[in-house]
């Protein structure tokens, strides 16, 4: 194993993991606070990516797409929460699963109607359209470094917000022990709205960020949905810190597996998940486990 190659692979793994964190943190918060699994979370990622495609397609720079994805995501999340999810918190699991499954189908269909089914590439912003050599003979695109930076920034802001603000600590309390909300006399409806909007915004931001790296294509969210589930199971439900470390771990295992053990790479993260379930069924980073 050559060392410079390993350095590049580690960089890949961290970058992949941080992107996973943006997606799975929303998933784990929504699940922790409301007890709902949103199967359409991957489709929101897909919507974010297509939003970046549309924005850049109109000639606007990509960095405009990022706030647009955040705002659009927050709005969409709020609408979904108010219009649909709110009625389903107390319903049977089966109903919730099928509701969000239906959303996947409808989001995909809307995407197909409005934007077609083609694979589209999204240009890297001109400012970042150059490569930085990281090892002898291998360069890393500046945009990938920018994605790394944005992910770290967002993760930092999230931790600050959760630790330092009143609303943040209420959300944290709600995610760890949903019954705390009532005990503390918090406004559950408001917390639900905020959490759902935030989770949706993060998923769409991740999509917009990833669009130049992955291109946009139908059903692109499906793979990310499942890998996010693995992150949440490994990290522990309801814990943002768990999602962070879980995402980094999965990103690294997945990337290094593909590079060095390609025959079994597809299975590596599932084997990891099985191991975690046997060893610590509540997740590696769950509190009180």
């Amino acid at each position: 194993m050559d060392f410079p190659g390993l350095a590049a692979q580690l960089l890949n793994g961290v970058q992949h993991g941080l992107l996973l964190f943006l997606i799975s943190s929303g998933l784990t918060l929504i699940f922790g606070v409301m007890g709902v699994i949103n199967l359409a979370h991957g489709s929101l990622f897909m919507l974010g990516a297509y939003l970046a495609f549309v924005v850049t397609g109109m000639g606007a720079p990509l960095w405009l797409a990022l706030p647009a994805a955040m705002l659009g995501g927050a709005l969409l999340g709020a609408v979904l929460e108010r219009g649909l999810f709110r009625r389903f918190y107390t319903r049977d699991h089966l109903d919730q699963v099928l509701l969000t499954f239906a959303l996947i189908l409808l989001f995909e269909e809307a995407r197909s109607l409005l934007l077609g089914n083609d694979f589209h590439s999204v240009p890297v912003p001109a400012l970042l359209d150059f490569s930085i050599p990281v090892t002898e003979g291998f360069a890393y695109s500046a945009y990938r470094f920018a994605v790394l930076a944005v992910c770290i920034l967002v993760a930092g802001l999230m931790f600050l917000g959760l630790e330092r603000t009143r609303l943040g600590s209420a959300v944290r309390a709600a995610a760890e022990k949903p019954e705390m909300v009532q005990l503390l006399g918090l406004d559950a409806r408001r917390i639900h709205l905020v959490v759902f909007a935030l989770g949706t915004a993060l998923a769409m931001l991740a999509g917009a960020l990833a669009a130049p790296l992955l291109s946009v294509y139908p059903n692109m969210g499906d793979g990310f949905l499942i890998i996010s589930f693995v992150v949440v199971v490994v990290g522990g439900v309801g814990s943002v810190a768990g999602a962070f470390w879980g995402a980094l771990l999965i990103g690294l295992v997945d990337t290094l597996g593909k590079a060095y053990l390609p025959e079994v790479a597809g299975l590596s993260i599932y084997v990891l998940m099985a191991g975690v379930l046997l060893w610590r069924p509540a997740g590696l980073f769950a509190r009180g486990a």
Binding site: S121, P133, F138, A139
Partner: protein, 398 residues
């Protein structure tokens, strides 16, 4: 051969149930009365990722039909389209629809190599003539070949073989191969290796990632350490766009030239932009083929659709030509299996790509061109392999 039997190869007492009178004869042989329209099924993707391919194939089929006055073997042809969405999960159901509900007598289809398997099976079991206008999975004209199955496109092996051959002739001794880990990618990899070996080179490493992932970084990061003179690849569509761009962004383009099966740059050059400039690929068609047949075909297609023809349209056009030859020989009877197959097998197709014949396993024996991406076109710059046939390994016609 075991088709048409519910119990293949079990040498016990057979008990034939007298069901014939009970089951309604849904598939009774069609009336071939002269003049009754021939129901031709076009099972193609008209929605989904490959919709534009399906549409071009269908348009080209109809273009040729028009040239023939809408008749084959003396019978008017009624075209029945069925959208398979390139969704293998629904493939069997869609084939049943086309053959059972719509009762088509011959099929041209399809693009997706998974969906085509259901058509291949139906053709083997029910004897319906099938012409494959795109899907390049080798099996259809190797171990699963059948007298009623023909192909007017390629096997994945063919273009990649041409590319490998051309690369070795340029003096490349060591090359890597990078692809999605699925049948098409692996069959192309086999062709690339065979071609390169035939001209004195060697594939030293195969890099693969699961289909259809686009996280190429873990693979690209390994290339500098391999000490190769060229990288061959098989990607198509959006994956090809992303791959070519990342290859350039990783700083590899100027150090290790990228080449591949023609689909790497087919229909994707606009999206790939400067990153694709200079990439060499091999395919059975290309831009700048200046033959009368090609000129006529392209202008006819443009007139009909307002679009430029592409390799898919050529394949569709030739599928219609081939079926026409077969039906002319049987005076419009698609159930005359033997004469139909004989006539099609012996045909010489005057294709826009250059004339071709069919191999014993019913796959084109064709010229593979070497092309270079220049200014948004896949300019033909030479011939990679002349009259190349797929090995047809494992094909035993019943």
């Amino acid at each position: 051969m075991t088709r048409n039997s519910f119990t293949p190869g079990v040498p016990r007492r057979a008990l034939a149930l007298p069901l014939a009178g009970i089951a309604a004869g849904a598939l009774a042989s069609p009336a071939i009365a002269q003049g009754a329209p021939l129901r031709l099924g076009l099972m193609l993707p008209f929605s989904g990722t490959f919709a534009s391919l399906g549409e071009n194939i269908a348009q080209a089929v109809e273009l040729h039909l028009n040239e023939r006055g809408g008749r084959m073997g003396g019978r008017p042809v009624q075209v029945i389209r069925l959208d398979d969405e390139s969704n293998p999960a629904n493939a069997v159901a869609n084939v049943n629809r086309l053959l059972g509900r719509d009762r088509v007598e011959a099929v041209i289809g399809t693009v997706h190599s998974g969906v085509v398997m259901a058509l291949v099976q139906a053709s083997r079991e029910r004897g319906v003539p099938l012409i494959i206008p795109n899907a390049g999975n080798a099996a259809a004209t190797r171990e699963l070949c059948a007298p009623t199955i023909f192909r007017t496109s390629f096997t994945n092996w063919q273009p990649a073989y041409g590319m490998g051959l051309a690369l070795g002739r340029q003096g490349v001794k060591r090359a890597a191969w990078i692809t999605w880990d699925y049948a098409a990618g692996n069959e192309a990899g086999e062709g690339f290796r065979d071609g390169l070996r035939a001209s004195g080179g060697e594939v030293v490493r195969e890099l693969k990632l699961p289909f259809p992932e686009t996280n190429f970084q873990p693979l690209l990061a390994q290339i500098p350490g391999l000490n190769v003179e060229a990288v061959g690849s098989f990607f198509a569509g959006g994956g090809a766009v992303q791959f070519v761009r990342e290859y350039a962004a990783a700083g590899l383009r100027d150090r290790v030239p990228l080449c591949g099966s023609g689909f790497l740059t087919e229909g994707t050059l606009a999206a790939q932009g400067a990153a694709a400039e200079g990439i060499r690929t091999a395919l059975h068609y290309g831009d700048g083929l200046d033959t009368p047949k090609n000129r006529a075909f392209r202008s006819g297609f443009r007139e009909r659709t307002n679009r430029d023809a592409d390799v898919y349209a050529v394949q569709g056009y030739d599928a219609a030509q081939l079926l026409g030859i077969g039906l002319d020989a049987t005076r419009g009877d698609p159930t005359a299996e033997q004469p139909l197959a004989r006539a099609m097998r012996a045909a010489r197709i005057d294709s826009p790509r250059g004339a071709f014949t069919l191999s014993p396993s019913h796959n084109p024996v064709q010229t593979i061109y070497l092309r270079e991406a220049r200014g948004g076109l896949n300019q033909v710059i030479g011939v990679a392999a002349e009259a190349l046939a797929d090995p047809g390994t494992g094909c035993r016609m019943a």
